[in-house]
Amino acid sequence: MTDDALDPLIHAPARLRILVTLAALNYADTLSFTRLQAMIDLTPGNLITHLRKLEDAGYISSEKTGKGVASQTSVTLTNRGRAALDAYTHALRDLLSGL
């Protein structure tokens, strides 16, 4: 096994928690930014940084609705993100099966 098998983008604890949380939703369901933040207990700035990295990789997509104070950002796991998380999970299981 190579280190590449464990996707470094997903391997960071905060990003792993984000992806696992979004993966628990049904296909194409979205989760609001505020609920995600409350669930994984990150500061808004920290969460935005991680979400940007995941979005740049195409693992999640985000959508902003409304304007001003009433605006709301919601995020969803993409097919690519779900596949990457599956691959990561398999790689981790393979790695740990040798213990």
Binding site: L25, N26, D29, T30, L31, S32, R35, S74, T76
Partner: protein, 173 residues
């Protein structure tokens, strides 16, 4: 646990209000009030838990939940409208309020819940739905007083068993 309490204390109150009746006159007003108060408390608590769990979630899951809620409301309302029709058509008070009321609406609503659980492949919930249907259907044979008592006790035991199984399963996970 809340559902089990509704069955034990709500149905139990109605059974208590009728158990020494000779001749049969039907459930006492206080007992019906206790039953509906408990049903309302359980419904409000369940909707709060559901709202908390789905806050911030949009999309298919929320639409499915709303559609399921509409189906449950229609099933429940339909069963009670049908009960009204039975009374209107002159079916005995003992049958309408003694046998039909504690069992038939429960069977209808649990059938809808069991179908939803089967569609989601949620086997434990499907099992609970089928068990409650079986308890309610069998309790109907015990007459207008026994139907309330046996349905209440049986459904309480089914829900307590489900809660205990969930606790064991969560501890093992």
């Amino acid at each position: 646990m809340l559902g089990a309490a509704v069955f034990l204390f709500g149905y139990g109150a109605v059974w208590c209000s009728m158990r020494d009746q000779h001749p049969y006159t039907g459930p006492g007003g206080w007992a019906i009030a206790v039953l509906y108060a408990l049903v309302i408390v359980a419904a409000v608590a369940s909707s709060r838990v559901l709202n908390r769990a789905t806050t911030g979630v949009t999309g298919r899951a929320r639409r499915q939940l709303q559609a399921q809620g509409a189906a449950f409301a229609a099933a429940y309302a339909g069963a009670y409208v049908f009960m009204g029709a039975l009374g209107y058509l002159g079916v005995s008070y003992r049958i309408v309020y003694g046998v039909y009321a504690p069992t038939a609406p429960l069977i209808v609503v649990c059938a809808a819940a069991a179908a939803g659980a089967a569609a989601r492949e949620n086997w434990p919930q499907l099992g609970v739905g089928i068990a409650i249907i079986a308890v309610a259907a069998a309790s109907a044979y015990s007459g207008p007083v026994g139907a309330w008592g046996y349905t209440g006790l049986g459904c309480c035991l089914v829900l307590l068993g489900y809660a205990a199984a969930l606790v064991v399963w969560l501890r093992r996970a």
